[in-house]
Amino acid sequence: MNQAYYNGNFYQAVSVTAPGESPDVAPAKWRKIQLPKNWRFALSQLTYANLLKLDGQNDKAMEERQIALQTERVGLDDLVRKQANDERWLERPSVRTGQQAW
């Protein structure tokens, strides 16, 4: 195990910890997981939508999900404009190679 939820945040151990060496006690052994700031709205809204779905409120979840993914809110518009005429991005489907637990 190399990840822990502690005081509202997620931490990754960057060194082996001994029992009791929490992120507060041994901060050098942990790194707080940070997320892209420009995703704040989208991640909050998507998290909310996922919670609604878990609660069985599927219709409401769908609405909130659409709001979350409005492109101007997540920076996609800028990205699309930047990359629209760029041949590099016009590529074939990708190959999935697995996931990694943080």
Binding site: M1, N2, Q3, A4, Y5, Y6, G8, N9, F10, Y11, Q12, A13, V14, S15, V16, T17, E21, S22, P23, K29, R31, K32, I33, Q34, L35, P36, K37, N38, W39, R40, A42, L43, Q45, L46, T47, Y48, A49, N50, L51, L52, L54, E64, A68, L69, V74, L76, L79, E87, R88, W89, R92, S94, V95, R96, T97, G98, Q99, Q100, A101, W102
Partner: protein, 291 residues
Amino acid sequence: MQTVDASVILDDAYQLIGWDQTQLETRQEQQARMAMSMALQEMWERWWWEELMICQRVQFWNSYRADTIYNGYFTSGSTNTFVYWPQTDGYYQAVQMANFGIAPTDASGNLATANWFQWRACPYPNASAFPTNQNTLFGQVDYPSWNATQSYGLGDIANWFAPFFDDPTQFQQANFVSIIAANLGNQPVWVDIIVGDPAIQWFQIANWQPNVTTAAVNPVYGDIRSVSSTDPRASTPALRFHFDANGNVYGLNVGKPWVWSRRVTPVLTGDAYDPTVNYTATAASDLVFDS
């Protein structure tokens, strides 16, 4: 990249759903963490976010080392059979046992023939063989059938369907194989170049270096955007190679192509800190964001 704490995201979500953070049940906290992890995965894979991608050159096998013993294909499951040889930007398979200190080629790029023929060059997979030839064994389909009227020299390769021998005193099973002219026991004979395991395809992603199994020291692959001859981010157009769902790459013309991929999608496991547990270290390269 500017970042934000995960707690901020969770606080926002709690506000939106109307949960009092001071009154949360353990189950609600767990649900929220799971919901956020799912949200992160969706955003991560929604687009090719350039800041979250890795672009690097890879090779399919480790480079030749003069201090390593290489064993040829004669031994089933033998290791250290394939190498990358920077001098020619190519790959070679050992064809003798206990090869030690004999590099694949000389300074002119000619195959090493110290005493016996030591290596064979591995041709890149033939682009024209795709997609029907799923069982290609490192290019064997590229070779013509053996022809009794043709002269062959050391290192020539042909296809052959018949009993054959790789030792003057031993016959082996009939099979459709690729054969290579070699010297064994100082007699020129033909030997097979098949390792014996059809699953071995030297151009598979599983063999790439850096690879998934060395994630502790190298970035690991997420979804792959492209495999190309040159840096795909450069202004000069790069030659793209086709690759399939198994990570096989076709039509290569370089030994070390560029792979442009996402970082592996992170998963927030979200288990609460347990003061009785020894936590293991995360490799520095696996840390997606610097705080």
